[in-house]
Symmetry: C2
């Protein structure tokens, strides 16, 4: 029995608008997650360094896992035997599974793509993994995630136009196969729009994708090497044209400023490794800017990481202690900084949401900018 068999497919309810921006609720896995929504990354069925209680305490209600990586280990048979990914990782919130399309980009040295799918060769032992649009949906059916993503082809930012056109053509072909494949009961399927930084290609692919009848539409193919300043105008053009009655998801983004620009463009859902990976490298996000906790100036700093933050790192420990843990390679550093960064990102989404409701989103641009920069 799948843990989420009783729920209707994920959908969005919009509560307020401010320009193109939307504030709403993602209805998923029997709960209502306020949007704009940031989903922490839990690639292998664990948000690195955290247990389920801490994820909830940080304010997250939906996490992202990666079907491609879970196929490699532990394998879908293991997860199925537990009754699905929710039970395997003891997570009673929503789960979105990415398809492996991003790995077409990130593992580009280890795969070959054809019209029927993609073949990956493992970097170590050369063993082969074949993904097709239908097999990836079936994989996600077995994982029992709440939201499945189609397999797509994600070209790098440096790809020329003919290469991007080819990726768009193939992604459309694959999207049709994915839609025809059986899914788990109540499982949503989102399409993915490619087109790199070419607004014309993006609009054309969005129109094709939107017409197919997905439960939601995502923008893929960003954060693949392009400067953020080139990304924002493209998202600003495409976001408002995405289906208004479905969730809109920008994949793999981003900094507080990225999130501001994307929310202003009407995007609802986000995921990014930045808060979690950054934490493991000793980076803490604060409203005043990014902090590298190893810095010597924190050695004697008995104050909290961020004044007013409700997370355990800030309410119970000092910057000095966090610096000590991080510079000593202590596991608790990764855990506390991850809790802080996720709490910061959830609070930032709350700030954006409140501003959308209040009609004051534009006033947040300088705050968004400050939060992404290194603290002096």
């Amino acid at each position: 029995m799948m843990a989420d068999a009783a729920y209707a497919p994920a959908r969005i309810a919009i509560d307020a608008r401010c320009g193109d921006a939307r504030a709403g609720r993602l209805l998923v896995h029997g709960l209502e997650a306020p949007t704009p929504l940031f989903m922490p990354v839990g690639t292998l069925g664990t948000v690195k360094a955290l247990g389920p209680d801490e994820i909830v305490r940080a304010g997250a209600r939906v996490v992202l896992a990666n079907a491609y990586h879970l196929l490699q280990r532990p394998g879908p048979d293991v997860i199925e035997r537990h009754g699905g990914l929710h039970r395997f990782m003891a997570w009673d919130g929503g789960i979105l599974t990415d398809s492996g399309g991003f790995q077409v980009f990130s593992l580009s040295g280890f795969r070959s793509v054809d019209d029927d799918g993609v073949t990956f060769a493992a970097p170590i032992d050369g063993s082969r993994t074949r993904l097709t649009p239908a097999s990836v949906v079936d994989l996600q059916r077995r994982l029992g995630s709440d939201i499945a993503m189609v397999l797509d082809e994600c070209p790098p930012a440096t790809a020329d136009r003919s290469r991007v056109e080819e990726a768009v053509r193939r992604s459309t072909l694959w999207a049709r196969s994915a839609l025809a494949a059986p899914r788990a009961s109540g499982q949503a399927l989102f399409g993915i729009v490619q087109g790199a930084l070419d607004v014309g290609l993006r609009i054309a692919h969005l129109e094709e994708t939107a017409a197919m009848g997905f439960d939601g539409v995502a923008l893929g193919g960003f954060s693949v090497g392009e400067p953020p300043e080139r990304r924002w105008p493209v998202v600003a053009e495409i976001g408002p044209r995405m289906p208004a009655d479905h969730p809109r998801y920008l994949m793999g983004i981003g900094t507080p400023l990225d999130l501001f620009h994307a929310v202003r463009a009407g995007i609802d859902l986000f995921d990014c490794v930045l808060p979690t990976r950054g934490a493991r490298h000793g980076l803490a996000f604060t409203a005043s800017g990014r902090i590298a906790v190893k810095q010597a100036r924190f050695r004697d700093d008995t104050g909290p990481l961020e004044e007013g933050c409700p997370c355990p790192a800030c309410t119970r420990f000092s910057r000095s202690y966090l610096r000590h843990l991080h510079t000593s390679g202590e596991i608790l550093a990764a855990r506390l900084l991850t809790e802080h960064n996720l709490t910061f990102f959830q609070r930032w989404m709350g700030t954006l949401r409140t501003a959308v409701v209040a009609g004051t989103l534009d006033t947040l641009e300088s705050a968004a900018s400050a939060a992404g920069e290194p603290l002096d």
Copy 2:
């Protein structure tokens, strides 16, 4: 202000005896910790992978930190600025600080000993650290631990008799200096008995140490290379001769079977890295034996690590998930296995205590033996 200034020095109240074994309560830091008591190791001011809440949830009330290592980093000035180690690590239970005497053994390639103290050379940059009996008490005064340990000289198991006699002579000399040094308000000071596996030397040194008026007496110089079977008879001879009205502490020990033998000999307090370090290497203790969670047989095992264990690893996750986390190098594996192992050790101490009260301690020998062996 020291966090623990209001408390009386640690002492023990004995509730029951069974042969030489004792069941009681360590009165420390304003709380009563049932004895026999296992203290998790938190060398650098963190029980590796756990926050304070998990330490409490595992049943631990007193932790051990290491004054020598805390001197290296972050330094006592940093900890003093926080108002002491309790506040620095946000731990409101008891703290015992080891003196650095064990490092005379474990860092034997990097130190020279004379009658006034020991000089360590840092393995990397060669910088020197001088410890004297008085400076180590002063260091622990600044840390504000509840129980301070004297500086001692800990010879290896392979040392010849004259070398052990020399260590005993020096440890006695140092103990007198330590007793004369000012301590924090309410801070207890424990003496340490050396003498390797020589019962005569051990008894003589115990008599000297017991006569000095410490708040408690410890046995050092075990688990320094000797086989457990040679340790137990020595502990069996010495334990019952230790002062009856003070806490008796066996340092750095041990397996469930070690703990059984030592409790039978009348020891009250223990610390050991085994449950915490083992956890980070994927070793889980259970009543049926030790488990290496990476084993392939656990790939599909949806059952708990140990049936009936109340820890989060056992109540919320499967062996299969723990194996997946550990083999994937996920931080959550270290955390969950540490919680389990500490819970197991606390429950084991509870089992021993109950048996002392019931007068049935001897019946636990085979259970003690089973818990320490690898599970078939």
